[in-house]
Symmetry: D2
Subunit: 474 residues, 4 copies
């Protein structure tokens, strides 16, 4: 019903020194990362060198049952993945982790990100007789590592060699029969971090919230370019590919990550509150109450309220029972049924000048509907403030933004026109500069390519057109 | 995993002047009332005098499919119900609405509340050869009406006569082949209200949020004791049983109802904010931040913050994907897995004196876990404030409070002891007087029996013991 | 895909002297009676006076799961039922056994048959304020017994009194908190028999095949009009309603019952073989091979072969995997897809004169398709022989024959015309006299109403038209 | 409940000249081949070069829904597969058809059989950096073809080259973006045949019964060693690998194939009747009736009866409702519950000397139970006759016979001992010579390795031990 930007993927890994219920831990970890991908998920377990896997289309709670978890059983390592397909169509062969057998044994790989040289890699391997079961670029990473493994003295050495050929964004967790290996592209587009369990085992996770969720403790982020090897001998770090300048996706802070996660030392909740506060400074307005669109706009709304001294209010109730099984009303009933998902608390906004905070506008239709809802319930004025800059450019590093045809910021030339479409009394976006201030304290740069069109590394040639066409054709 | 007070039931009815998609509207209405009962649900449709029904155990989204809604089809009336069983075991025969055929035709009934003379009524009818398919007191109401109908000149007249024999709490919606009838016990224990659709049809609903959800407009509450008849001739009100003093359940404001509902002219959200504010006056404490337990403690937390001028914070993230299909970790894993459902935003509370607001304490184990979570994450002090008085007595009017053995306020003599059990630095409940101030502006009294042990009407003799035993035996 | 006569119902009961897994035994019993009703099923268990039930729409294997059987649990009695709805639409309220509570406690009833005075009974009870949850005539039987129970000194006495008012066909199994009671209408339209378990408990079943299936031993048939009471004191028989002349449905032998069942001392398999033999005598034809339509025509085909000395052949393979989940090909594909369900063994029939045996023709379309299949595969001649007389009249005693509009024997005046429609080289039915010869050795009469239009008892007035209309309207 | 020999796999392909509902045809075809594999199934469709697939664990009726068939949609080619895993554990990655992308585009492969040099092939490809997603030898075939395709001028030429390296049994159907290719190993261990649809399209199928089922007409068998290419230009046959002597599995006639199939010009039903007749000649016995164990023993029983002139009888009723959802009785109940699956028709065997025909004995426990069942029901004597020789050796060509430890013919030295274990009055197997007489009229040899231990081609070295161990470890 509502338009949005699709999150991309979440990876999770666990290494324990003795056989234990790693499949159950991975299951809990994936539940905590579910917001990063809702189309499919999977877990592979290593039990004394034997790999077992269970994967499927759907949410973690749909794919895994008591039976399938019991079949996965105990082991000393597991790798899990939640996915929203950014490349490859949504079929079972694309579900991760990818589990394969090669000359040196089994290997499982979970990947978050997007390669920018996937088609070159694919052609190269196909010319050597390779067959591809999936349309996902993750299989390219697997082939790259496996082909290096023929010469390399160890799996981590194969990863190290393969990384010379991989371009783009990749935060990965790889499981071999005896090692769990985390590795992150040199730009560190996507987050990846390390935790320790109560029994001294290690956790690899896209976000720290999953480390909390399984009762483990956060240690540190994996560095951009780092290869972290976990084995019976403990931790070993390979930093050949680490370089000074990284470029973390700014949208992880503003939109993707869970507010209780901490990335590169900055709390996501704090980053969003700060975005709200910067927005209040950049685009103040006289009003009676500040409300956020649940759940993504709440943190920024609180920041805006603190900075502006305008009271924070609870403006909406979201129906928490509406899930996939909800049967959408027919077109004719839809107009009247808007409020089934999101209802206004009239008490909060009636007769008032309202500042409405959201984290993004994609197509604009949802924002328009929400503004109308507020006005219909008696809001005197509605001032929409977006805690991110406007999307105007495609992302090549793991995010599935809508096609240019659909992006309202591409369709209209001015913010004024967008405001009119949405029906708000005023509209302002966070500035790109403002977005960068979130990470003022970090010594790494942020990628803002989707806002600025300036990308930190080379992007695929002649690909933009195709990517957009692909979206349209769906 | 978490202990709580079970909500009881929600009723929904729709009358349209021409055949239309009333089953779909009822479906949306029940989605909005789902918080009032999650064990079972059902819808009965009247299509030109022919009744079709679909009922089942589970949530609205589980019981109803595209197919079952299509089979219900169009009609000019529908009655729906969501249920948590307060009497009668949880089997399919107890699922409402109850649909029966009697001498004058079909009849469907949806009921929220509890009769206090159910066993007397049952004996009376059984002595006349009656058979009972359910163990629910709703079937007693049906027999009462049907037996009066033999003499009465109309179905509403039968309801009127039957009400002389019904004792206790009942907010009902009845569907005959040509009329939709809402009736409420003279004490008005449970809410019931009226709305109007865009096409001039009428909605009956336990709460106004469902009227909003289906795109209709709120008109007014059904009065305590009122019988409201909706037919082709429009609305007709029978007020024989209306009396001055009603006694609405105070817990509807504090706990049961949805914040976006308005009952007797008072916004539930506003009532909760007010409860928080009164609590701040009654039990102030010096602190750095006020946070609420999501979702039920958020409104009162905001009220406490406003009154005390202590900043409001977002303290927790609730995992919104965890539903019925979640496979609970084993006992040994459970301790570490607390945070899978509710994680702390460390940024908000670390190193701070925290005021934690919740709407109730039942067994105390959940509160203890949450306080520990905050302390483990660095909270300097945790001051627990409950926006309701302490539960100490059973409810006979439609609420399923836990047994005395389990209620922490019955197990311990003093608030100090409860505080120690929970591990908070201080603890305070809203006073009973404070609870009544919520409805200062209302000219009707509130029932506070579960806090005070003083009930507005006679309660079943020798029944208390049984009720509590029943809970234990479950 | 194929037209047929719907079987009606199967009842099963078990009484053990000590608590045991009666629900599992009932489950097995219903599996053996599944051919008597595939629309819904249910089991009620009595565990020391407490009744638990599980019922649902679908096959036994669909309705019952490991979990639901475990919830039913152990007990000393159980009653089960499989159903095809002959009266009452197919909704959950009509699923049997009906379990109710009345003045003297719980009662469960499973019924096979049809009352002929159901509407009179219903009016009578409604005039006393009765409510009906189902549209099934079984609820009339329950009301009749319960109303007699107010005066009667025991439940069996109530059944005895009630039977004075019940007209039509009823083979029932009733469970009270301490007794299991089987009773059968004085005409004994439907079968009902008694068995003994290895532990000395008793089984009541529509057919003896279910007694075999649960590892018990057949004792005897319940007599027409008999009330058999099973309790801790053992067996007690009440024969007030037993009279000389019974009228068992001849179609039980020819079509409904399972070949391994024995009814009134005659093996169903033997009866069908005999029908085939009589048919061979009545309507001989020169041919090379006798084949039966699986599975129902095989026994009669063997009988025809023995009598005629023409070799028996296996003419068809039935795809045993095709069940409810089979997705029917679209109309355009259907013609070519006939053979997916039933394929010809060409070897058996190619170039031969074939005698094809089936047990009935309803609409004739299936027979036509099968004859065409044989001819397309090279059969030189196809002589269709039906091991039952032609259907021409409705059944009022528990069988759901198609409407007169659809019955081919009503649409055409002569057998010759039917033969032409079907495309066979010759066609003959078993004569009505021939059908009666099946039971030559029995001292009870058989009801042949559906063939002859002559019914052993009075049928409902003005009902025929309605019954047929009802079918059309479906 | 019953022990048996697992069938192996079934392949199905369709080529139409214009886009049509090929997925629905493949679905019907797989239903007809379901007896060849019940663990998993899949269909891949080619729609103008685009491949869509749906696969899953379970029966055809479980894996495919209306939705999944609609998603497969129309196309001009499809390949389907049903599978029982003879190699590779039973996980989703092993489900066929295998669909991959290689340098020249898409390719789907369905395979029935077993390679004998799979591990050599696998090592070879892994040394070139290959990754294997499945543990099935079918992926080895794919790699072999794809690696030849780099040099070959066409896909059929690649198949031709690859066949020089493939050893063992393979009857395959391959789909490229424009061609459907059937190929069969030079020994022709497994059947494969060609049919033509009403619209002039072509069908490839493991058995002719599936050609019938979809309304197409049988043309001919694919020759051992033949590569048959179906494209827009029609049929093209490559016979490089065709040689004089083939070795079809004799067990296809005796056990695997459906009786209505015709393989190499011999009707399977006729072959089984002939086996029964030969058995009657080899091992006659004086008796009153010949009965077959349903369904597999019926054809041979009829043959035995014809040859011996002893009357054929219907001895058993099989409960056709018992499927996967059947909940097995507990151990203690099992003994009494034997008859739920198979019940005796007492009428047929009571007081008689019975010849019981079955097609095989694996562990012997089932046969023992059936013999006991007959004796318990009054059979005077039971003479067991098996319409196949005794299993004593493993199959390397696509059949999953039980481990030596479990095979009764390996456990006991003499037929006399087996007879005693089973409790029959006499026992005889068909002789190996007798088995060969089935195909007297064929000019091809039959493989009887599982009976004689003599294999037509080299078998894997040191593999026997492993294969048997694998079974034990399961």
């Amino acid at each position: 019903m509502f338009d949005n930007i699709h999150e991309e993927c979440g990876v999770f890994g666990i290494f324990e020194n003795t056989p234990s219920n790693v499949s159950s831990t991975a299951y809990l970890g994936l539940y905590a990362l579910q917001h990063r991908g809702q189309e499919s998920c999977g877990i592979a377990v290593c039990d004394d060198g034997i790999f077992r896997q269970h994967k499927g289309l759907g949410l973690v709670g749909e794919v895994f049952t008591k039976e399938s978890l019991e079949e996965l059983g105990i082991g000393n390592m597991a790798v899990g993945h939640v996915r929203y397909s950014t490349t490859g169509c949504n079929n079972i062969n694309n579900v991760q982790p990818i589990v394969v057998r090669h000359i040196k044994g089994n290997l499982a790989l979970a990947h978050n990100g997007n390669l920018t040289n996937a088609s070159e890699l694919r052609s190269h391997f196909e010319l050597n007789g390779a067959i591809f079961h999936s349309t996902s670029d993750t299989e390219d990473i697997v082939y790259s590592i496996v082909s290096e493994r023929l010469q390399a003295r160890s799996i981590e050495n194969a990863v190290e060699m393969a990384m010379y050929n991989l371009k783009g964004a990749y935060s990965c967790c790889l499981m071999s029969p005896s090692k769990l290996i985390a590795f992150r592209d040199p730009n560190g587009f996507r987050p990846l971090c390390l935790g320790i369990t109560k029994t001294g085992g290690y956790i690899i996770s896209s976000e720290s919230c999953a480390i909390d969720a399984v009762g483990a403790s956060f240690i540190r982020d994996i560095q951009p370019g780092e290869i972290l090897v976990i084995s019976e001998e403990g931790l070993k770090s390979i930093k050949t590919h680490c370089k000074k300048q990284s470029s973390l996706c700014v949208f992880e802070y503003i939109y993707f990550a869970r507010p209780d996660s901490v990335i590169e030392g900055i709390s996501v909740h704090a980053a969003r509150k700060k975005a709200g506060a910067i927005l209040a400074k950049e685009s103040p307005v006289d009003a009676d109450v500040v409300i956020g669109v649940p759940d993504s706009g709440l943190d920024a709304a609180l920041g805006y309220s603190f900075e502006s001294k305008i009271p924070y209010g609870i403006g909406f109730i979201k129906n928490k029972y509406i899930g996939r099984s909800f049967i959408k009303p027919t077109q004719s009933e839809r107009e009247s049924a808007v409020k089934i998902k999101l209802n206004v608390i009239k008490e909060t906004i009636e007769g008032k000048k309202v500042i409405l905070i959201d984290d993004s506008i994609v197509r604009g239709t949802t924002s328009r509907r929400i503004v109308k809802l507020l006005k219909d319930n008696g809001a005197k004025e509605v001032h929409l403030r977006i805690s991110a800059p406007a999307f105007k450019f495609p992302c090549f590093f793991g995010t599935d933004i809508d096609s240019k045809e659909n992006l309202i910021a591409c369709k209209y030339d001015t913010v004024e026109e967008i405001k009119d479409f949405i029906g708000a009394d005023s509209l302002a976006y966070l500035s790109i500069d403002g977005a960068h201030q979130i990470a003022n304290d970090l010594d790494l740069r942020l990628c803002d390519g989707c806002f600025s069109g300036k990308y930190p590394i080379e992007t695929p040639k002649n690909e933009e057109k195709n990517i957009f066409e692909q979206k349209i054709n769906r």
